[in-house]
Protein backbone atom coordinates (compact mmCIF):
# COMPACT_ATOMS: atom_id res chain seq x y z
CA UNK A 1 0.00 0.00 0.00
CA UNK A 2 2.07 2.92 -1.18
CA UNK A 3 0.45 6.25 -0.82
CA UNK A 4 0.94 9.15 -3.06
CA UNK A 5 3.43 10.97 -0.86
CA UNK A 6 2.98 14.22 -2.60
CA UNK A 7 2.06 16.45 0.35
CA UNK A 8 1.51 19.54 -1.69
CA UNK A 9 -1.98 20.89 -1.40
CA UNK A 10 -3.86 19.88 -4.47
CA UNK A 11 -7.01 21.64 -5.68
CA UNK A 12 -10.15 19.54 -5.13
CA UNK A 13 -10.83 19.21 -8.81
CA UNK A 14 -7.34 19.24 -10.20
CA UNK A 15 -6.74 17.92 -13.68
CA UNK A 16 -5.81 14.56 -12.20
CA UNK A 17 -8.97 14.35 -10.12
CA UNK A 18 -11.12 15.39 -13.03
CA UNK A 19 -9.64 12.52 -14.97
CA UNK A 20 -10.74 10.17 -12.20
CA UNK A 21 -14.27 11.29 -12.84
CA UNK A 22 -14.19 11.47 -16.61
CA UNK A 23 -12.07 8.46 -17.57
CA UNK A 24 -14.61 5.84 -16.50
CA UNK A 25 -17.28 7.70 -18.45
CA UNK A 26 -15.51 6.99 -21.73
CA UNK A 27 -12.00 5.57 -22.12
CA UNK A 28 -12.30 3.24 -19.17
CA UNK A 29 -16.02 2.67 -18.98
CA UNK A 30 -16.87 -0.28 -16.72
CA UNK A 31 -19.57 -1.58 -19.02
CA UNK A 32 -18.54 -0.74 -22.55
CA UNK A 33 -14.79 -1.24 -22.07
CA UNK A 34 -14.37 -3.54 -19.10
CA UNK A 35 -17.69 -5.32 -19.68
CA UNK A 36 -18.53 -5.60 -15.97
CA UNK A 37 -21.95 -5.46 -14.36
CA UNK A 38 -23.79 -6.62 -17.46
CA UNK A 39 -26.49 -8.73 -15.82
CA UNK A 40 -28.08 -5.86 -13.95
CA UNK A 41 -28.08 -3.88 -17.20
CA UNK A 42 -30.13 -6.60 -18.85
CA UNK A 43 -32.55 -6.96 -15.99
CA UNK A 44 -33.56 -3.51 -14.88
CA UNK A 45 -33.47 -1.34 -17.98
CA UNK A 46 -36.99 -1.99 -19.22
CA UNK A 47 -37.97 1.41 -17.91
CA UNK A 48 -36.07 4.63 -17.53
CA UNK A 49 -37.30 5.08 -13.96
CA UNK A 50 -35.88 1.81 -12.65
CA UNK A 51 -32.64 2.50 -14.54
CA UNK A 52 -32.40 5.91 -12.93
CA UNK A 53 -33.02 4.63 -9.40
CA UNK A 54 -30.52 1.83 -9.96
CA UNK A 55 -27.92 4.28 -11.31
CA UNK A 56 -28.37 6.59 -8.32
CA UNK A 57 -28.17 3.65 -5.92
CA UNK A 58 -24.94 2.42 -7.47
CA UNK A 59 -23.45 5.93 -7.41
CA UNK A 60 -24.29 6.20 -3.71
CA UNK A 61 -22.98 2.75 -2.82
CA UNK A 62 -19.83 3.05 -4.86
CA UNK A 63 -18.86 6.56 -3.84
CA UNK A 64 -19.36 5.81 -0.16
CA UNK A 65 -17.76 2.36 -0.29
CA UNK A 66 -14.65 3.79 -1.94
CA UNK A 67 -14.59 6.63 0.59
CA UNK A 68 -14.97 4.37 3.62
CA UNK A 69 -12.43 1.80 2.46
CA UNK A 70 -9.96 4.55 1.64
CA UNK A 71 -10.41 6.09 5.11
CA UNK A 72 -9.83 2.69 6.69
CA UNK A 73 -7.04 1.65 4.36
CA UNK A 74 -4.19 1.83 6.89
CA UNK A 75 -6.09 -0.18 9.47
CA UNK A 76 -7.54 -2.95 7.34
CA UNK A 77 -5.67 -6.21 7.98
CA UNK A 78 -4.58 -7.31 4.48
CA UNK A 79 -5.54 -10.90 5.19
CA UNK A 80 -9.21 -10.10 5.67
CA UNK A 81 -9.42 -7.11 3.34
CA UNK A 82 -11.88 -8.80 0.98
CA UNK A 83 -14.20 -9.59 3.89
CA UNK A 84 -13.97 -6.01 5.10
CA UNK A 85 -14.75 -4.72 1.61
CA UNK A 86 -17.72 -7.02 1.27
CA UNK A 87 -19.06 -6.04 4.68
CA UNK A 88 -18.88 -2.35 3.82
CA UNK A 89 -20.56 -2.89 0.44
CA UNK A 90 -23.23 -5.16 1.90
CA UNK A 91 -24.03 -2.70 4.68
CA UNK A 92 -24.38 0.16 2.21
CA UNK A 93 -26.53 -1.91 -0.12
CA UNK A 94 -28.86 -2.90 2.71
CA UNK A 95 -29.14 0.75 3.68
CA UNK A 96 -30.02 1.71 0.11
CA UNK A 97 -32.56 -1.11 -0.07
CA UNK A 98 -34.21 0.03 3.17
CA UNK A 99 -34.36 3.64 2.00
CA UNK A 100 -35.89 2.61 -1.33
CA UNK A 101 -38.49 0.47 0.42
CA UNK A 102 -39.43 3.41 2.60
CA UNK A 103 -39.56 6.15 -0.01
CA UNK A 104 -40.02 4.66 -3.50
CA UNK A 105 -41.76 1.38 -2.71
CA UNK A 106 -43.01 0.50 -6.18
CA UNK A 107 -39.62 1.10 -7.77
CA UNK A 108 -38.04 -1.04 -5.09
CA UNK A 109 -40.54 -3.80 -5.93
CA UNK A 110 -39.56 -3.63 -9.59
CA UNK A 111 -35.85 -3.67 -8.82
CA UNK A 112 -36.56 -6.58 -6.45
CA UNK A 113 -33.45 -8.68 -5.98
CA UNK A 114 -31.27 -6.44 -8.11
CA UNK A 115 -30.72 -3.89 -5.37
CA UNK A 116 -29.39 -6.68 -3.20
CA UNK A 117 -27.31 -7.88 -6.10
CA UNK A 118 -25.46 -4.56 -6.24
CA UNK A 119 -23.25 -6.37 -3.73
CA UNK A 120 -22.14 -8.75 -6.43
CA UNK A 121 -21.58 -6.00 -8.97
CA UNK A 122 -17.96 -6.61 -9.84
CA UNK A 123 -17.35 -2.96 -10.63
CA UNK A 124 -17.64 -1.99 -6.98
CA UNK A 125 -15.28 -4.50 -5.49
CA UNK A 126 -12.94 -4.05 -8.42
CA UNK A 127 -12.59 -0.35 -7.64
CA UNK A 128 -12.15 -0.95 -3.91
CA UNK A 129 -9.40 -3.45 -4.55
CA UNK A 130 -7.72 -1.59 -7.38
CA UNK A 131 -8.05 1.97 -6.20
CA UNK A 132 -9.48 2.80 -2.79
CA UNK A 133 -7.10 0.53 -0.87
CA UNK A 134 -4.11 2.49 -2.13
CA UNK A 135 -5.35 6.03 -2.49
CA UNK A 136 -6.50 8.96 -0.43
CA UNK A 137 -10.17 9.40 0.45
CA UNK A 138 -11.04 12.28 -1.88
CA UNK A 139 -9.59 10.78 -5.09
CA UNK A 140 -11.11 7.43 -4.09
CA UNK A 141 -14.50 9.01 -3.65
CA UNK A 142 -14.22 10.62 -7.08
CA UNK A 143 -13.08 7.35 -8.59
CA UNK A 144 -16.13 5.62 -7.14
CA UNK A 145 -18.52 8.29 -8.37
CA UNK A 146 -16.87 8.30 -11.79
CA UNK A 147 -17.09 4.56 -12.27
CA UNK A 148 -20.65 4.41 -11.01
CA UNK A 149 -21.57 7.25 -13.35
CA UNK A 150 -19.91 5.39 -16.20
CA UNK A 151 -22.12 2.44 -15.35
CA UNK A 152 -25.10 4.74 -14.83
CA UNK A 153 -25.05 6.52 -18.17
CA UNK A 154 -25.00 3.24 -20.06
CA UNK A 155 -27.91 2.06 -17.90
CA UNK A 156 -29.86 5.23 -18.61
CA UNK A 157 -29.16 5.10 -22.34
CA UNK A 158 -30.32 1.51 -22.56
CA UNK A 159 -33.35 2.27 -20.40
CA UNK A 160 -34.20 5.30 -22.54
CA UNK A 161 -34.32 3.35 -25.79
CA UNK A 162 -35.98 0.29 -24.33
CA UNK A 163 -38.80 2.24 -22.72
CA UNK A 164 -39.24 4.59 -25.69
CA UNK A 165 -39.34 1.87 -28.33
CA UNK A 166 -40.83 -0.87 -26.18
CA UNK A 167 -43.60 0.98 -24.38
CA UNK A 168 -43.78 4.37 -26.11
CA UNK A 169 -43.28 6.11 -22.78
CA UNK A 170 -40.49 7.80 -20.84
CA UNK A 171 -40.47 7.80 -17.05
CA UNK A 172 -43.98 6.39 -17.36
CA UNK A 173 -45.32 9.32 -19.44
CA UNK A 174 -46.53 8.65 -22.93
CA UNK A 175 -44.29 10.37 -25.48
CA UNK A 176 -45.28 8.69 -28.73
CA UNK A 177 -48.38 10.70 -29.68
CA UNK A 178 -51.66 8.88 -30.22
CA UNK A 179 -51.87 9.84 -33.88
CA UNK A 180 -48.68 7.89 -34.52
CA UNK A 181 -50.44 4.77 -33.25
CA UNK A 182 -53.47 5.56 -35.38
CA UNK A 183 -51.20 5.76 -38.40
CA UNK A 184 -50.06 2.23 -37.72
CA UNK A 185 -47.02 2.68 -35.47
CA UNK A 186 -46.64 -0.11 -32.94
CA UNK A 187 -44.53 -0.51 -29.84
CA UNK A 188 -41.84 -3.10 -30.30
CA UNK A 189 -42.57 -5.73 -27.69
CA UNK A 190 -39.19 -7.26 -28.31
CA UNK A 191 -37.52 -4.23 -26.70
CA UNK A 192 -39.03 -5.21 -23.36
CA UNK A 193 -37.25 -8.55 -23.34
CA UNK A 194 -33.73 -8.90 -21.92
CA UNK A 195 -32.03 -9.91 -25.20
CA UNK A 196 -32.70 -6.44 -26.58
CA UNK A 197 -30.79 -4.93 -23.67
CA UNK A 198 -27.81 -6.97 -24.74
CA UNK A 199 -28.19 -5.81 -28.33
CA UNK A 200 -28.62 -2.19 -27.21
CA UNK A 201 -25.45 -2.45 -25.11
CA UNK A 202 -23.76 -3.95 -28.15
CA UNK A 203 -24.79 -0.98 -30.26
CA UNK A 204 -23.53 1.42 -27.59
CA UNK A 205 -20.19 -0.39 -27.51
CA UNK A 206 -20.03 -0.23 -31.28
CA UNK A 207 -20.64 3.53 -31.37
CA UNK A 208 -18.22 3.97 -28.49
CA UNK A 209 -15.45 2.04 -30.24
CA UNK A 210 -16.10 3.87 -33.43
CA UNK A 211 -15.42 7.18 -31.67
CA UNK A 212 -12.46 5.87 -29.65
CA UNK A 213 -10.33 4.12 -32.20
CA UNK A 214 -7.57 3.32 -29.67
CA UNK A 215 -9.96 0.97 -27.85
CA UNK A 216 -10.31 -1.26 -30.88
CA UNK A 217 -8.46 -4.50 -30.41
CA UNK A 218 -6.81 -5.29 -33.71
CA UNK A 219 -4.88 -8.36 -32.60
Amino acid sequence: MSDNTNTQKEPLLSAKNRKLLSNPLGQDNPITVQVLGICSVLAITVQLRTSLVMAISVVAVMGLANLIISLLRHGIPPRIRIIVQLTVIAALVILVDQVLKAFVYDVSRQLSVFVGLIITNCIIMGRLEAYALNNKPWPSFLDGIGNAAGYGWVLLTVGFFRELLGSGTLMGYQVIPNFAYQMGYENNGFMILPPMALITVGVIIWVHRHRNRDLVDVS
Binding site: A43, R79, T87, A91, I94, A102, V113, P194
Partner: protein, 230 residues
Protein backbone atom coordinates in the same frame (compact mmCIF):
# COMPACT_ATOMS: atom_id res chain seq x y z
CA UNK B 1 -0.62 -7.50 12.00
CA UNK B 2 -1.30 -10.06 14.68
CA UNK B 3 -4.22 -12.45 14.77
CA UNK B 4 -5.39 -10.62 17.86
CA UNK B 5 -5.62 -7.38 15.91
CA UNK B 6 -7.51 -9.10 13.09
CA UNK B 7 -10.02 -10.58 15.53
CA UNK B 8 -10.63 -7.29 17.29
CA UNK B 9 -10.87 -5.49 13.97
CA UNK B 10 -13.37 -7.94 12.52
CA UNK B 11 -15.53 -8.08 15.65
CA UNK B 12 -15.75 -4.34 16.11
CA UNK B 13 -16.53 -3.89 12.43
CA UNK B 14 -19.41 -6.33 12.68
CA UNK B 15 -20.79 -4.63 15.79
CA UNK B 16 -20.63 -1.19 14.22
CA UNK B 17 -22.28 -2.35 10.99
CA UNK B 18 -25.00 -4.13 12.97
CA UNK B 19 -25.70 -0.98 14.98
CA UNK B 20 -25.94 1.20 11.89
CA UNK B 21 -28.24 -1.21 10.07
CA UNK B 22 -30.45 -1.82 13.10
CA UNK B 23 -30.89 1.91 13.59
CA UNK B 24 -31.77 2.47 9.96
CA UNK B 25 -34.22 -0.43 9.93
CA UNK B 26 -35.96 0.80 13.08
CA UNK B 27 -36.23 4.37 11.85
CA UNK B 28 -37.60 3.41 8.43
CA UNK B 29 -39.95 0.67 9.62
CA UNK B 30 -43.10 2.79 9.99
CA UNK B 31 -42.76 4.13 6.45
CA UNK B 32 -42.14 0.68 5.01
CA UNK B 33 -45.09 -0.81 6.83
CA UNK B 34 -47.37 1.87 5.51
CA UNK B 35 -46.16 1.09 1.98
CA UNK B 36 -46.93 -2.59 2.48
CA UNK B 37 -50.41 -1.82 3.79
CA UNK B 38 -51.08 0.35 0.75
CA UNK B 39 -49.85 -2.38 -1.55
CA UNK B 40 -52.17 -4.87 0.13
CA UNK B 41 -55.08 -2.47 -0.37
CA UNK B 42 -54.14 -2.05 -4.03
CA UNK B 43 -54.07 -5.82 -4.50
CA UNK B 44 -57.42 -6.34 -2.81
CA UNK B 45 -59.03 -3.60 -4.90
CA UNK B 46 -57.47 -4.95 -8.06
CA UNK B 47 -59.26 -8.29 -7.43
CA UNK B 48 -62.53 -6.46 -8.06
CA UNK B 49 -61.02 -4.55 -10.99
CA UNK B 50 -60.66 -1.21 -9.28
CA UNK B 51 -57.35 0.32 -10.29
CA UNK B 52 -55.96 2.16 -7.28
CA UNK B 53 -52.97 4.46 -7.70
CA UNK B 54 -50.73 4.56 -4.65
CA UNK B 55 -51.86 7.97 -3.53
CA UNK B 56 -55.55 7.09 -3.61
CA UNK B 57 -55.42 3.49 -2.44
CA UNK B 58 -56.38 4.28 1.15
CA UNK B 59 -59.36 6.47 0.18
CA UNK B 60 -60.62 3.99 -2.39
CA UNK B 61 -60.24 1.11 0.04
CA UNK B 62 -62.31 3.02 2.62
CA UNK B 63 -64.95 3.77 0.01
CA UNK B 64 -65.40 0.33 -1.52
CA UNK B 65 -64.53 -2.19 1.17
CA UNK B 66 -67.45 -1.90 3.53
CA UNK B 67 -67.02 -4.93 5.76
CA UNK B 68 -64.13 -7.18 6.66
CA UNK B 69 -64.60 -10.49 8.43
CA UNK B 70 -62.60 -13.39 9.75
CA UNK B 71 -64.23 -16.79 9.39
CA UNK B 72 -63.11 -20.34 10.08
CA UNK B 73 -63.43 -23.35 7.79
CA UNK B 74 -66.93 -24.05 9.15
CA UNK B 75 -68.04 -20.61 8.08
CA UNK B 76 -68.37 -19.27 11.63
CA UNK B 77 -67.36 -15.70 12.18
CA UNK B 78 -64.38 -15.00 14.43
CA UNK B 79 -63.22 -11.91 16.28
CA UNK B 80 -60.44 -9.77 14.91
CA UNK B 81 -59.25 -7.49 12.14
CA UNK B 82 -59.23 -9.32 8.83
CA UNK B 83 -56.75 -6.88 7.30
CA UNK B 84 -54.12 -7.81 9.87
CA UNK B 85 -54.41 -11.57 9.29
CA UNK B 86 -51.29 -12.88 7.56
CA UNK B 87 -52.32 -15.79 5.37
CA UNK B 88 -48.68 -16.81 5.32
CA UNK B 89 -48.99 -17.83 8.98
CA UNK B 90 -52.52 -19.19 8.67
CA UNK B 91 -51.82 -21.76 5.95
CA UNK B 92 -49.32 -23.43 8.27
CA UNK B 93 -51.90 -23.97 11.00
CA UNK B 94 -54.33 -26.87 11.30
CA UNK B 95 -57.47 -26.33 9.33
CA UNK B 96 -59.56 -25.98 12.50
CA UNK B 97 -57.39 -23.14 13.85
CA UNK B 98 -57.11 -21.22 10.62
CA UNK B 99 -58.36 -17.64 10.46
CA UNK B 100 -59.71 -16.86 7.01
CA UNK B 101 -60.13 -13.22 6.04
CA UNK B 102 -63.03 -12.06 3.86
CA UNK B 103 -63.30 -8.57 2.42
CA UNK B 104 -66.74 -7.48 1.37
CA UNK B 105 -67.03 -4.66 -1.13
CA UNK B 106 -69.91 -2.56 -2.28
CA UNK B 107 -69.33 -1.40 -5.85
CA UNK B 108 -72.16 0.81 -7.06
CA UNK B 109 -74.70 -1.19 -5.07
CA UNK B 110 -73.35 -4.59 -6.03
CA UNK B 111 -71.89 -6.74 -3.27
CA UNK B 112 -68.60 -8.45 -4.01
CA UNK B 113 -66.47 -10.78 -1.94
CA UNK B 114 -62.69 -10.86 -1.96
CA UNK B 115 -60.74 -13.72 -0.44
CA UNK B 116 -56.98 -14.20 -0.28
CA UNK B 117 -55.27 -17.38 -1.46
CA UNK B 118 -51.73 -18.57 -0.96
CA UNK B 119 -49.69 -21.46 -2.28
CA UNK B 120 -46.37 -22.49 -3.70
CA UNK B 121 -44.86 -21.95 -7.13
CA UNK B 122 -41.63 -23.34 -8.47
CA UNK B 123 -39.15 -21.37 -6.37
CA UNK B 124 -41.16 -19.88 -3.56
CA UNK B 125 -44.55 -18.79 -2.32
CA UNK B 126 -47.24 -17.40 -4.61
CA UNK B 127 -50.33 -15.61 -3.41
CA UNK B 128 -53.24 -13.59 -4.61
CA UNK B 129 -56.76 -12.29 -4.14
CA UNK B 130 -59.87 -13.55 -5.86
CA UNK B 131 -62.90 -11.29 -6.25
CA UNK B 132 -66.31 -12.95 -6.47
CA UNK B 133 -69.71 -11.64 -7.46
CA UNK B 134 -72.60 -11.80 -5.02
CA UNK B 135 -73.53 -15.27 -6.35
CA UNK B 136 -70.18 -16.36 -4.86
CA UNK B 137 -69.50 -18.44 -7.94
CA UNK B 138 -68.57 -15.99 -10.68
CA UNK B 139 -65.11 -14.46 -10.57
CA UNK B 140 -64.92 -10.69 -10.91
CA UNK B 141 -61.18 -10.52 -11.01
CA UNK B 142 -57.99 -12.04 -9.75
CA UNK B 143 -54.69 -10.67 -8.64
CA UNK B 144 -51.59 -12.79 -8.21
CA UNK B 145 -48.10 -12.14 -7.05
CA UNK B 146 -45.05 -14.23 -6.30
CA UNK B 147 -41.83 -14.07 -4.37
CA UNK B 148 -39.33 -15.50 -6.83
CA UNK B 149 -40.84 -17.16 -9.88
CA UNK B 150 -38.76 -17.14 -13.07
CA UNK B 151 -39.02 -13.78 -14.87
CA UNK B 152 -40.64 -14.18 -18.26
CA UNK B 153 -42.03 -17.61 -17.38
CA UNK B 154 -43.71 -18.34 -14.06
CA UNK B 155 -43.49 -14.69 -13.05
CA UNK B 156 -46.11 -13.91 -15.72
CA UNK B 157 -48.83 -14.86 -13.24
CA UNK B 158 -48.33 -11.39 -11.79
CA UNK B 159 -49.00 -9.78 -15.18
CA UNK B 160 -52.21 -8.46 -16.63
CA UNK B 161 -52.61 -10.89 -19.57
CA UNK B 162 -52.70 -13.91 -17.28
CA UNK B 163 -54.98 -12.33 -14.70
CA UNK B 164 -57.32 -10.95 -17.36
CA UNK B 165 -58.43 -14.50 -18.13
CA UNK B 166 -60.17 -14.87 -14.80
CA UNK B 167 -63.14 -12.47 -14.89
CA UNK B 168 -66.29 -14.40 -15.82
CA UNK B 169 -64.90 -17.80 -14.81
CA UNK B 170 -66.74 -19.77 -12.15
CA UNK B 171 -65.67 -21.67 -9.05
CA UNK B 172 -68.99 -23.55 -8.62
CA UNK B 173 -70.73 -25.40 -11.45
CA UNK B 174 -74.40 -25.07 -12.40
CA UNK B 175 -75.45 -27.57 -9.76
CA UNK B 176 -73.61 -25.71 -7.04
CA UNK B 177 -70.76 -28.18 -6.72
CA UNK B 178 -67.34 -26.73 -5.91
CA UNK B 179 -65.29 -26.83 -9.07
CA UNK B 180 -62.29 -24.49 -8.90
CA UNK B 181 -60.54 -22.95 -11.85
CA UNK B 182 -57.70 -24.99 -13.29
CA UNK B 183 -54.71 -23.54 -15.06
CA UNK B 184 -54.21 -25.98 -17.89
CA UNK B 185 -51.08 -26.62 -19.89
CA UNK B 186 -51.43 -24.98 -23.27
CA UNK B 187 -54.87 -23.66 -24.13
CA UNK B 188 -57.98 -24.05 -22.03
CA UNK B 189 -60.93 -25.65 -23.86
CA UNK B 190 -63.08 -23.05 -25.56
CA UNK B 191 -65.97 -22.00 -23.37
CA UNK B 192 -64.74 -23.88 -20.29
CA UNK B 193 -65.72 -21.74 -17.34
CA UNK B 194 -63.45 -23.63 -14.98
CA UNK B 195 -60.12 -23.39 -16.80
CA UNK B 196 -57.68 -20.78 -18.03
CA UNK B 197 -54.63 -20.98 -20.32
CA UNK B 198 -51.40 -21.99 -18.66
CA UNK B 199 -48.09 -20.23 -19.06
CA UNK B 200 -45.67 -21.75 -21.57
CA UNK B 201 -42.51 -22.70 -19.78
CA UNK B 202 -44.19 -22.02 -16.46
CA UNK B 203 -45.96 -25.33 -15.93
CA UNK B 204 -44.94 -25.80 -12.32
CA UNK B 205 -46.02 -22.27 -11.43
CA UNK B 206 -49.27 -22.81 -13.36
CA UNK B 207 -49.92 -26.02 -11.43
CA UNK B 208 -49.12 -24.08 -8.27
CA UNK B 209 -51.87 -21.62 -9.13
CA UNK B 210 -54.30 -24.49 -9.74
CA UNK B 211 -53.50 -26.01 -6.35
CA UNK B 212 -53.61 -22.64 -4.67
CA UNK B 213 -57.05 -21.91 -6.10
CA UNK B 214 -58.39 -25.30 -5.08
CA UNK B 215 -56.96 -25.35 -1.57
CA UNK B 216 -57.40 -21.66 -0.97
CA UNK B 217 -61.04 -21.47 -1.99
CA UNK B 218 -62.15 -24.83 -0.67
CA UNK B 219 -61.75 -23.69 2.93
CA UNK B 220 -64.30 -20.95 2.30
CA UNK B 221 -66.89 -23.41 0.96
CA UNK B 222 -68.92 -23.61 4.18
CA UNK B 223 -68.88 -19.85 4.56
CA UNK B 224 -70.04 -19.33 0.99
CA UNK B 225 -72.82 -21.88 1.38
CA UNK B 226 -73.92 -20.19 4.57
CA UNK B 227 -74.28 -16.84 2.82
CA UNK B 228 -76.03 -18.34 -0.17
CA UNK B 229 -78.67 -20.02 1.97
CA UNK B 230 -79.21 -17.08 4.27
Amino acid sequence: MTNRYIFIYASSMVVIVALVLATAATLLRPLQERNMRIEKMQNILSAINIPAPRAEAETLFERYITTTKIVNHLGEELEGDAFEVELQDEVRKDLADRQLPVFIADVEGETMYIVPVRGGGLWGPIWGYIGLKSDLATVVGANFDHASETPGLGAEIADRPFQAQFPGKRIFDEDGNFRPIRVVKGRAPEGDLHAVDGISGGTITSNGVTDMLRNGLEVYKSYFEKIKTS
